[in-house]
């Protein structure tokens, strides 16, 4: 975890994760029901999430997380921050993800 925060520049909203890219969730800043819902669906810090496709009108976006494909509106995905993972860092991140799960 420590090495992550040293290496990663900074967390960005999940909304900005480009399609086809994977990121590791850093925080879930929603409150109330939306926060609980996101947590229940597995949007937890340390979890890998990939942006898979966007709906024709640009919103919502489908994300792959913990083996399932879930669609989130921008208003909700903007409350989740991620640090993008590129190809080289992927393995290291997966390992970290497994440790913190």
């Amino acid at each position: 975890m420590e090495s992550d925060s040293d290496r990663e520049p900074k967390a960005r909203p999940l909304t900005d994760l480009p399609l086809g890219q994977t990121g590791v969730i850093r925080s879930v800043n929603a409150t109330g029901m939306v926060r609980n819902r996101l947590l229940d669906l597995g949007f937890l810090p340390g979890t890998e999430v990939s942006a898979v496709r966007r709906a024709p009108m640009g919103d919502p976006t489908a994300f792959r997380i913990r083996g399932a494909m879930l669609a989130l509106r921008a208003q909700d995905s903007s409350l989740v921050t991620v640090t993008p993972v590129d190809g080289l860092q992927m393995d290291a991140e997966t390992e970290t993800g497994a440790k913190t799960c």
Partner: protein, 434 residues
């Protein structure tokens, strides 16, 4: 749940009084959405299912009977849920049923190809009751993708019986029925291994449990204490984290993946189809064409059987009229029976039966193919603009059909999510893969 805990015996009597003998066993079927739970339900109960109101609730649950080696039990199909920490209405229904009705067995249907996510619900249910059986469904599909599930390892990790099934082909269902019968008869006594939360949460939970008043027997004290604690957002996050962490470690031990070349191309094909179905330029035209096609087939195609049915039924009206005349029946009787009851029945049947017999199979086909989830995904933006969500497009679609009575069909009613739209996070499952 806590404010109005029905006693097990009372609740059960109330639930059963309308439909069942009080001594019948109750089996609840729980699971994430899209795990093939309905297929398991249908395979267990055959075509003898009903929808029944749960007294005191505004929900209808599907139920049917299953033959467990000579003994019959009632199977209740709970709404699909990701979690029992209950955010959506469907999830509260599932949780309340488990807490208040204290079913004799809970079969949790999980998807073999997506075990880690599904285990989160299993872990929450074994906190509530030990009488749990895990049914790992869609095992054929997972095996084709090179995923192997070790049921013995899973049993060891969870402490409850596990059966592997492929409900659509009937595989494993006899085993599932035997396990349910063994559990109900007490030959099998699961000793679930619930999630161990961080020590401070466990301590707090124990302290809280000792201060709780007497609870109905079906409700676990630990569960209640934990739910009281997790009203604090920080504690809730740690609880959910512990659950997912445990789910991951169990899945790591019980699931093995054999990399093979064939599935990769299939996944690529499916992803390519999705690219078209939800693409910026083709998404809506394809949707209009598909849904329009279904409408067209329903409306135009129904004309032929409708005309045929009308011809036959009105032919029979002529016979009936002749029979009434021959018997010198009074006019009022002829008017009431033939011109009133029979003619109305003939019109209703010939006009409504054919479109329904065409529309619902097509609708079910689109649902089974997963296309309806894509429609929700495509349409969500438009519905957001009027404060609704994409799932409602399907309700609208069904309601706008010429025969509005169609909404009484269970598969249609499942899409009438408008009541549960209180949370704004629009979350549509587009099917899972690994």
């Amino acid at each position: 749940m806590l404010s109005r805990p029905a006693k097990r015996a009372d609740g059960r009597a109330a639930y059963l009084s309308t439909h069942h003998c009080p001594d019948e066993h109750v089996i609840a079927l729980a699971g994430n959405p899209n795990t093939g739970k309905s297929t398991v339900f249908n395979a267990l109960t055959g075509l003898r299912q009903h929808t029944g109101n749960w007294p005191g609730k505004t929900v209808d649950l599907a139920f049917g009977r299953v033959d467990l080696g000579g003994r019959r039990a009632v199977v209740v199909d709970l709404p699909g849920a990701y979690s029992l920490l209950a955010c959506s209405e469907d999830e509260s229904i599932a949780r309340d049923f488990l807490c208040e009705q204290g079913p004799d067995a809970v079969v949790v249907v999980v998807e073999a190809g997506c075990l880690e996510r599904n285990l989160s619900l299993v872990l929450q249910i074994i906190e509530l009751t030990p009488r749990v059986i895990v049914c790992v469904n869609l095992i054929d599909e997972a095996n084709r993708l090179g995923i192997q599930v070790d049921s013995e390892a899973l049993e060891r990790e969870l402490g409850v019986p596990v059966t592997l099934t492929a409900a659509s082909s009937g595989r494993g269902l006899d085993q599932l029925k035997r396990t349910v019968a063994d559990l109900i008869d007490g030959r099998l006594q699961p000793k679930p291994l619930p999630v161990a939360y961080p020590p401070d949460i466990e301590d707090a939970s124990r302290e809280l449990q000792s201060k709780l008043p007497t609870l109905p027997s079906a409700v676990s004290r630990r569960y209640v204490a934990l739910r009281m604690l997790d009203t604090d957002p920080a504690i809730r996050e740690r609880i959910v984290e512990s659950i997912y962490c445990r789910a991951k470690s169990i899945s790591d031990r019980a699931v093995s993946r054999i990399p093979s070349s064939a599935p990769a191309s299939r996944v690529a094909t499916e992803s390519g189809i999705d690219d078209v179905l939800t693409s910026r330029w083709l998404g809506f035209p394809v949707m209009l064409a598909l849904l329009g096609g279904v409408f067209w087939i329903t409306l135009v195609g129904a004309n032929y059987p409708s005309a045929l049915l009308a011809k036959v039924l009105f032919h029979m009206e002529a016979w009936l009229s002749a029979a009434f005349r021959a018997a010198h029946a009074p006019d009022w009787l002829y008017g009431a029976v033939v011109l009133g009851a029979y003619r109305t029945m003939a019109w209703v049947v010939s006009v409504m039966l054919p479109p329904m017999a065409i529309f619902f199979p097509l609708f079910t086909l689109l649902e089974d193919l997963g296309y309806l989830a894509r429609v929700s995904f495509n349409m969500d933006w438009c519905f957001k603009k009027c404060g609704a969500h994409g799932k409602q497009s399907l309700t609208m679609w069904i309601d706008s059909r010429p025969c509005a009575e169609a909404t009484v069909h269970p598969s249609a009613a499942r899409y009438c999510f408008s009541r549960s739209s209180t949370y704004s996070a629009t979350i549509v499952t587009m099917g899972s893969s690994s």
